[in-house]
């Protein structure tokens, strides 16, 4: 596009008082940009100026005012590139003149006076100008053919609910269920937990009514005794092959080679051709992922509602609770089956079980619950305690828990159950379950009763959890190069998820939306609500893909990675590192892009050693140019030139955290310059090299926390960046630069108050190392 530039510097919100606007304007006009200033560009007069400019042909606007995170719609001009230079938060509010004084009248023309704040404003403006020169307006990626059909995997309560919700909005839906009948786990219970206000009583299962409701929807197709052999392609254009369970067909999904098969006997990495040969051998009888099934059905998006299975303790597990030793010690799923079949009888001798102890936590010195347990296992214990009371007027049910979780209005259910005179609840640790004649003896410590207790029981029930279906099997069977399943479920306790707290329904694969027990252990009521959420996400996917915009989390982003294939060396790093499996490669290793699978994080761009992956508005060159636009003062400029440090910061968490710090007027070091990045995963090491070779004294990356509570919007970006930083450290040593000059920080969005201190400590390290020896070259 041919660009006509305009630079607009705002005086408002304290910018005019702190900065020399004339001098700043000169910075831009010296580079040939037309500059306009205004007391407040967000005001009526200011907006009028901007509109006139756009009407006059300006299509690349650099607005130096407030943070791009505020007034987004005010400064949005369709068809124009708008670059926001954050003078207000990152310069003025965070660097008060009381600490960094402005030059006095006498100092104004003094060349040796260092005006830190003005220099910073000047740098940020120049970075904005550099960027705007390098970026383009994006054009949308459009699929050749778009399918609007939604596939629902799993015909349990969640899948059926999701199908009905999607069908109500007019979409074509297909449900696949591996069993011969619909219903799943929800059809196996005597009663189910309450589904509606006042949430006081367990009710008859709703599943049968829900199955009947399907008849009202001609746009829902049901395939029972069917599983997904493979899902190939990308959102909006999936090609799905179905098969009977257990069947072996050529369109069964191939699996990637396990790591041990990728090397030869001496442990050396195999060549591409050899790898491909092995891959074919490993997957003999199966078509490669890039071969599409000509008879496959087309779908646009998938709701994954494959549910869960009851956790089955292994042999010897929970021996102290008598599991395995006595047939009268059962799991809650086994107990439910007994209850569904009739009155509760002891499995050992068929006698009435009138005293039942429900154990919620295995004990043995810690307060952990059983694996995959949750509030559902608490609620189920309450429900099943009710069965004992229903069946026997003199029945007694004891629930011994470390955690009794009854979230939301299910607290009403807890209260109702608690009122039953024959149900006894206590926090406590069960230490031993042992045989006592024909019955059992349960010993528990640390109870609310103030002393160790002993209960005679006919049966003992262990509150084992709900294992997501994806734990045992990929289920979705994606024909993706990274493999058929989700790659990083381990960081989400095996559930199909993509963030430890945010982005419900989003999995690690775009276009696949998880709901129900596969996503988190949940009740029937929660699953039905969850189904609606996933159905809406599937619809959002279709209605984004059709317009060529990103679905999530950069919803509405028109950009997508553009590969300059002529220079590709087939290193496969992009294919391997993409957190969403968006890239497939052919037998030679050349990546095949699937833009609608992409979430536009730029991890591929960060990974590419050849730097051939770029976005229209975010590229290796645009960021490099910004780095190079930063003025690095040397001894030519000042006797004691200030240090310069580059901060590449995640725009999802770290950038807003900085804005909040500024809003709270928390000052930070004036020698740091920030460049926002889409994700730390998108950071290409060339930017770090650019900064250091330009003489900058240090570089740090600031991104999301990883570990147990992984907060990255793109699943793995921050972690990848840390690995890359470690690797670059070795390269720096060879250049006689200290590895400490490059650092990686983790910050959560609410830790804004800690950022100034983090920066100060890093600056302390850099000061200790001294200035970059390459300065001035």
């Amino acid at each position: 596009m041919s660009k006509k530039y305009g630079v607009y510097i705002c005086h408002g919100c304290g910018i005019g008082e702190s900065l020399n606007i004339d001098k700043l304007s000169e910075t831009a006009s010296d580079e040939g940009f037309a500059v306009k200033t205004c007391p407040a560009f967000c005001g009526k007069q200011g907006l009028e100026i901007l509109k006139q400019e756009v009407a006059g042909g300006v299509n690349a606007l650099v607005i130096a005012a407030c943070s791009p995170r505020v007034l987004y719609d005010t400064f949005r001009f369709d068809g124009c590139i708008v670059e926001r230079v954050n003078l207000r938060e990152q310069v003025v509010w965070s660097h008060p003149r009381a600490t960094w004084p402005a030059p006095t009248e006498e100092q104004k023309d003094d060349e040796t006076f260092i005006d830190h704040v003005q220099m910073m404003a000047s740098d940020y403006l120049k970075m904005g100008l550099a960027k705007v020169k390098k970026i383009d307006l994006p054009t949308a990626f459009k699929l050749d053919a778009l399918s609007r059909r939604i596939l629902v995997i799993g015909g349990g309560i969640t899948g059926i609910s999701a199908a009905i919700d999607a069908a109500k909005t007019g979409y074509e839906v297909t449900i696949v269920e591996k069993e011969a009948a619909l219903g799943g786990n929800a059809a196996k219970w005597r009663k189910q937990l309450p589904t509606e206000y006042p949430f006081e009583k367990s009710t008859a299962p709703v599943i049968q009514a829900k199955i009947k409701e399907l008849d009202n929807f001609p746009n829902i197709q049901v395939k029972t005794s069917t599983v997904v052999a493979r899902i190939a392609g990308q959102p909006g254009d999936f090609t799905v092959t179905f098969k009977k369970p257990g069947e072996k067909i050529e369109f069964d999904v191939p699996f990637p080679l396990p790591p041990e098969m990728k090397v030869d006997e001496s442990g050396k990495e195999l060549e591409a051709e050899q790898l491909h040969a092995r891959y074919l051998e490993y997957n003999q009888g199966r078509q490669d992922i890039l071969t599409f099934d000509p008879n496959g059905e087309k779908f646009g998006a998938v709701v994954l509602a494959a549910g869960w299975r009851p956790y089955q303790p292994q042999e010897g597990e929970y021996a102290h609770l008598g599991f395995g030793a006595s047939p009268d010690v059962v799991t809650n799923a086994q107990f439910e089956a007994i209850a569904a079949a009739g009155k509760i009888k002891r499995p050992s001798d068929g006698r009435e079980a009138k005293s039942v102890v429900f154990i919620q936590s295995p004990g043995q010195g810690n307060d952990q619950d059983f694996p995959y347990a949750s509030s559902v296992t608490s609620l189920v214990a309450l429900k099943q305690a009710g069965y004992v009371r229903e069946d026997y007027a003199d029945g007694k049910a004891f629930v011994i828990y470390q955690h009794m979780r009854t979230p939301g209005l299910t607290e009403n259910y807890y209260k109702t159950v608690q009122q039953d005179p024959g149900i006894f609840l206590t926090k406590g640790q069960v230490v031993q379950v042992s045989q006592n004649g024909a019955g059992l003896i349960v010993n528990a410590d640390d109870t609310l009763l103030g002393q160790p207790i002993q209960i005679k029981a006919d049966m003992v029930v262990l509150a084992t959890g709900m294992v997501p279906a994806t734990k045992d099997d990929p289920v979705i069977n994606l024909a993706y190069r990274q493999g058929p399943g989700f790659r990083d479920n381990a960081i989400f306790n095996d559930y199909a998820d993509s963030n430890y707290i945010c982005f419900p329904y989003e999995t690690q694969r775009t276009g696949i939306y998880a709901a129900g027990g596969i996503r988190r252990s949940m009740t029937t009521e929660e699953s039905m609500e969850d189904a609606a959420g996933a159905a809406l996400k599937a619809i959002q996917c279709l209605e984004s893909v059709n317009r060529g915009v990103s679905v999530h989390p950069r919803s509405g982003d028109l950009t997508y990675p553009d590969f300059f294939f002529q220079r590709c060396t087939q290193c496969k790093r992009c294919t391997q590192e993409c957190p969403f499996g968006a890239l497939d490669d052919d037998e030679r290793g050349t990546p095949k892009t699937n833009p609608t699978r992409c979430r536009r994080c730029g991890t591929c761009m960060g990974a590419c050693p050849e730097r051939i992956i770029n976005f229209a508005t975010y590229s290796i060159d645009s960021v490099s140019s910004m780095v190079k636009a930063i003025k690095v003062p040397s001894t030519d400029d000042f006797d004691e030139p200030p240090l310069r440090v580059l901060g590449l910061i995640c725009e999802n968490d770290a950038y807003p955290a900085l804005d909040i710090a500024a809003l709270n007027r928390l000052p930070w070091n004036a020698d740091v310059r920030f460049i926002p990045v889409r994700c730390l995963g998108s950071v290409n090491v060339i930017w770090i090299k650019d900064a250091l070779s330009k003489g900058m004294d240090g570089v740090f990356l600031m991104g999301c926390k990883h570990g147990d509570d992984y907060q990255c919007h793109f699943v793995k970006g921050s972690e990848l960046a840390e690995i890359r930083v470690k690797k670059i450290g070795e390269a720096l040593s060879s250049l006689a630069l200290e590895p400490e000059r490059v650092a990686h920080f983790e910050v959560a969005i609410d830790e804004y108050d800690k950022i100034p201190q983090m920066l100060q400590e890093f600056m302390g390290t850099i000061e200790g190392l001294g200035p970059n020896p390459f300065k001035g070259f």
Binding site: D394, K396, F398, K415, Q418, Q419, D420, P421, G422, F424, T426, K427, N443, L448, L449, G450, Q451, P452, I453, Q454, I455, K456
Partner: protein, 387 residues
């Protein structure tokens, strides 16, 4: 740590506690707010939290055989602050009601007194006794000679009165004696089991000394005044308590004077006594205190829908109120010269008195005995109950 306790919940006990006002016990989730806010609960093994779980688990012996429920004065601080509306104050009251039934014999009588359906029979007993014995002995005269002024003894002989009241009192004392013997043994064993005392045995001398030490507390109602809720109950209970003390003194004096005067040559000194006699002053003062005190109690119970009032509660306050009203009524109608009305009211008064005495060990009023003993025991055991 104490040894492992075998849990055998008594479902009937939970139900019974519910019937007598403790039906919210199961709502407790053991936050212990009650024990924290209770102004009189001791630091070591405080109540009522532990009583709440033990009751909701149906551990009958653990609560009925403990002195702690009796230390509670039911001021309601705990119930007001309970986040789950489990009403610990009412639960402890219900536990005490169950304990009264547990420790009194015969058991069937205890259950009858606490059963509203049996009330007509209980009332019929004194009516029947009075009428039958009165008719047979001729001590009941429906047409007395009133030439010397209206006097109740001419209608209902004092012999006939004491022929019924004295055995009833002896019966009550005997029931209490048997109950207390078990009660003291049980609460001591419980205190030993739960680590609430370092005394190995209940030594009589020390126990009596402890009793003497707590008497002033009881007389001054110190425990009541520590409560923040239900201040008006302090006044009501104080009035009622002292009215009973006053009436007991008056009755004792009249009893002694009457039977002593049989030795006099002029013959027995029958009532009514002169309004100028200081004993009469005390009688009238106590009567008024009884009516006022019980009236406040009734009003408070009616106006407090969040506090449970079970049959046992209404039974006692109305009985005490009736006692005061019929007593005062008999006097006022006598002074008004309405002989027949006065005799009828006096007859009712006597029924009320007999009722109170004979059924005392089975009614809520038995707390007079059990609480006093429990407080004395706590003092003896070193529960740091009295400040």
């Amino acid at each position: 740590m104490a040894e492992r306790m075998l849990i055998e919940p008594d479902l009937k006990f939970i139900k019974d506690v519910g019937i007598v006002g403790g039906e919210d016990v199961k709502k407790c989730y053991q936050c212990a707010t009650c024990s924290v806010v209770c102004p009189i609960s001791p630091d070591n093994k405080p109540f009522p939290r532990k009583e709440m779980i033990a009751t909701s688990w149906g551990l009958k012996d653990k609560v009925l055989k403990s002195a702690d429920p009796w230390l509670c004065h039911n001021c309601g601080d705990c119930s007001t602050r309970c986040p789950r509306q489990a009403k610990p104050g009412d639960v402890l009251a219900a536990i005490r009601a169950q304990a009264i039934i547990e420790y009194s014999r015969p058991r069937w009588l205890a259950e009858a007194v606490n059963d509203p359906k049996k009330l007509p029979i209980l009332i019929a007993i004194p009516v029947f006794l009075f009428l039958v014995v009165g008719s047979i002995t001729g001590l009941l005269n429906f047409r007395p000679d009133l030439s010397g002024g209206i006097a109740h003894y001419k209608f209902f002989s004092t012999w006939l009165v004491d022929m019924h009241m004295v055995p009833a009192a002896i019966f009550a004392v005997a029931v209490f004696a048997m109950g207390l013997k078990r009660f003291i043994a049980d609460i001591h064993q419980n205190a030993l089991d739960e680590g609430k005392t370092d005394k190995q045995t209940v030594e009589v001398g020390g126990f009596i000394q402890a009793l003497v030490r707590v008497i002033p507390t009881i007389l001054k109602h110190n425990k009541f005044s520590e409560c923040t809720e239900n201040k008006e109950r302090y006044v009501a209970h104080l009035l009622t308590f002292w009215s009973f003390v006053g009436l007991f003194i008056v009755t004792s004096i009249i009893f002694l004077v009457l039977y002593g005067s049989y030795l006099l040559p002029t013959g027995p000194l029958h009532g009514p006594w002169s309004q100028l006699n200081p004993v009469k002053w005390l009688a009238n003062l106590s009567g008024i205190a009884l009516i006022v005190g019980t009236a406040i109690m009734i009003k408070a119970r009616v106006n407090k829908p969040d506090q449970k009032s079970a049959y046992k509660d209404w039974f006692l306050v109305y009985l005490a109120f009736a006692l005061g009203v019929t007593g005062m009524g008999a006097q006022l109608t006598r002074l008004a010269g309405w002989a027949e009305v006065s005799f009828a009211v006096y007859f009712l008064h006597l029924i009320a008195i007999w009722f109170l005495i004979a059924y005392l060990p089975f009614t809520k009023l038995a707390h007079l005995v059990y609480r006093t003993v429990a407080m004395a025991y706590a003092e003896y055991a070193g529960r740091k109950f009295t400040p």
